[in-house]
């Protein structure tokens, strides 16, 4: 028998009033993969994850985890699935350990050793008796991972696990995810941070405003990436913009510092430089601005309209 997909989302739709949070999204994750769902805030990632956990019901479509669905299996659907949505929340008046003990009860009981184990894994063993109300954001985030690991999951679903963490915390969290993935866990990770996904994931789905823009491996994505964005400093930016408009394929944007940014294949950038010189615009400086993958992500998610992913 063929092994069931860890995650099998089919044509899921969710609307909140007038707003379509998730529009016809499908997503498959094979067991053992570290999978990223990448997109800016508001792309519908969290709504998708909530539907996977049964917290909200899809208006259409189905979600299956290891072949089990909410409709057929109820809370059994979540057997072997751990994780958290947005920042994990606990009872501030209970200690970290008491929170875990209570959640373990709701899982049918877990022995104390297991709680010790997961607390050690997330490096909270020495703070386990303290009330969660006194925990830092990062500690609560780690306690969230501990709560997920309590159930010895085969699928770990983490929503923005590095959100709100300081650089050291982010490094630890990524190392933890790497370690868990190394143990054969399937991980589904949502993030708005390309670096996080690029660093930890094998495969990625990129979403924007509720729709899927790209499905595939990171390696494939890297190949399809355009060349870098380039930062132009010219004598006359307005004129340079007019010149750019005459060149098909080239995309122009303004950097946060107000500089001119141009995106395109290398030959298009070369042509643009030549055209600028021909138009009498003096080029003062030209430097690569973003990594290629970042440029693709930028083009996909920040542009005025969703561009087609270069084939």
């Amino acid at each position: 028998m063929e092994q069931a997909l860890a995650v099998d989302v089919q044509h899921v739709v969710k609307q909140f009033g007038e707003v379509t949070a998730v529009a016809d999204v499908s997503l498959q994750v094979a067991p053992g993969t570290v999978y990223g769902v990448l997109g800016p805030n508001g792309a519908g990632k969290t709504t998708l994850l909530r539907m996977m956990f049964g917290l909200i019901r899809p208006d259409a479509g189905t979600v299956r985890l290891f072949g089990r669905s909410w409709a057929d299996d109820g809370p059994r659907m979540l057997d072997g699935v751990g994780g958290f949505i947005e920042s994990p929340r606990f009872y501030p008046y209970l200690s970290g350990r008491k929170n875990l003990e209570g959640l373990a009860r709701l899982d049918g009981g877990v022995d104390g050793d297991r709680i010790d184990d997961v607390l050690r894994t997330v490096d909270l063993a020495d703070r386990q008796r303290d009330k969660v109300g006194g925990y830092s954001f990062g500690m609560r985030q780690r306690l969230g991972v501990a709560a997920s690991l309590l159930r010895a999951p085969e699928l770990l679903v983490l929503d923005e696990p590095s959100n709100g963490l300081d650089p050291a915390g982010i490094r630890d969290m990524r190392a933890l995810i790497g370690r868990l993935a190394g143990e054969g866990l399937t991980v589904l990770l949502s993030s708005h941070d390309l670096h996080e996904v690029e660093e930890t994931c094998d495969k990625v789905t990129i979403m924007r405003t509720g729709s899927v823009l790209y499905h595939g491996s990171i390696a494939e994505l890297r190949e399809r990436a355009p060349s870098s964005g380039h930062r132009f400093v010219t004598s006359d930016d307005d004129r340079a913009r007019e010149v750019a408009a005459t060149l098909p394929g080239l995309r122009i944007a303004r950097s946060e510092e107000g500089d001119l940014l141009a995106y395109g294949r290398q030959d298009e950038i070369d042509a643009y430089v030549a055209a600028l010189v021909a138009a009498g615009v003096h080029l003062r400086s030209l430097e690569p601005d973003r990594a290629p993958l970042e440029t693709l992500f930028f083009l996909l998610t920040e542009g005025d309209a969703a561009p087609e992913v270069p084939a």
């Binding site: 917290l55 057997d79 958290f84 929340r89 008491k98 049918g108 085969e154």
Partner: protein
């Protein structure tokens, strides 16, 4: 696939966790202590008053029989104390999950929504009963110790022997448990519907006062028996001669209907709700 078989949790697991959560919040033990101490203070203060509070039934006899004080307090407690006693937990037990944003934490474990709902409801009902038994015991014991166990004058002017009065006092307090649990269900429903702790706790008390007010108006006889506050007074019949129990039966049915309707609405809303918080 090395799928570890998960043990299925039951309602008992939910109740155990909910009880621990309750006891870890200062409010819960404080409420129980207050339920034990307040009647003693009231009994001492009342006993020291030269003029008995005649405007409540049995108030005029507080110096004459220790059995009248528990009845005076029962009449007085119904007005707002009992709804508050139960809503302090029942109005909070669902809405506090919204307040802490912790629905997603417990709804993503192995318990079903039904198990969570039933477990929380049982704990709220259980707390109401425990707090009420403490309140009743403290009231009755304090009154009898302070004043004594003299015969009591009933509601047909008849003299009720002390041992009969004792039984009737206990039966009266027991009868009020029905509307008390009705208020528990109402508080649960408000807690689920509004997802707001303040409303869950305060609204049942306010509604209790409104119903009391409506019940005291003339010309509302058709709805008076339907109010949840009417069964709070059903015990009066036990002290008449001959005693009558019609209002007790009606009160039991009315309390049950309030409870079932409230809980059903709460359950349907709870089951179908999208948890976004």
């Amino acid at each position: 696939m090395n799928h570890t078989p998960t043990r299925r949790p039951g309602i008992a697991a939910v109740m155990s966790f909910e009880t621990r959560k309750l006891l870890a919040q200062k409010r819960t033990p404080i409420t129980l202590v207050v339920a034990a101490v307040i009647p003693i203070i009231i009994a001492i203060v009342m006993n020291g008053q030269a003029r008995p509070p005649k405007d409540t039934l049995f108030g005029r006899f507080i110096h004459d029989s220790g059995w009248s004080m528990p009845l005076l307090l029962l009449g007085f407690a119904g007005q707002w104390l009992l709804p508050l006693l139960t809503s302090i937990v029942a109005g909070d037990i669902f809405a506090s999950e919204d307040q802490h944003g912790s629905w997603k934490t417990i709804l993503t474990r192995s318990t079903s929504r039904t198990q969570l709902f039933v477990g929380k409801t049982f704990v709220a009902l259980g707390f109401a009963l425990v707090a009420y038994v403490i309140l009743a015991t403290s009231t009755i014991v304090a009154s009898v110790v302070l004043i004594g166990h003299q015969p009591l004058v009933g509601l047909n002017g008849q003299v009720i022997a002390s041992h009969d009065a004792a039984r009737l006092v206990i039966e009266s307090w027991a009868s009020v448990a029905a509307p008390l649990l009705g208020f528990t269900c109402l508080a649960i429903a408000l807690s689920v519907l509004t997802r707001n702790v303040a409303v869950g706790i305060a609204a049942p008390v306010a509604l209790g006062l409104v119903m009391q007010l409506v019940g005291a108006l003339g010309g509302v006889e058709l709805i008076r028996p339907l109010l949840l506050t009417t069964p709070l007074e059903a015990w009066h019949g036990l002290f008449a001669d001959p005693a009558f129990s019609g209002p007790l039966v009606v009160g039991l049915v009315v309390s049950a209907v309030w409870c079932i309707v409230s809980i059903t609405i709460a359950f349907v809303v709870f089951r179908r709700r999208d948890y976004l918080g």
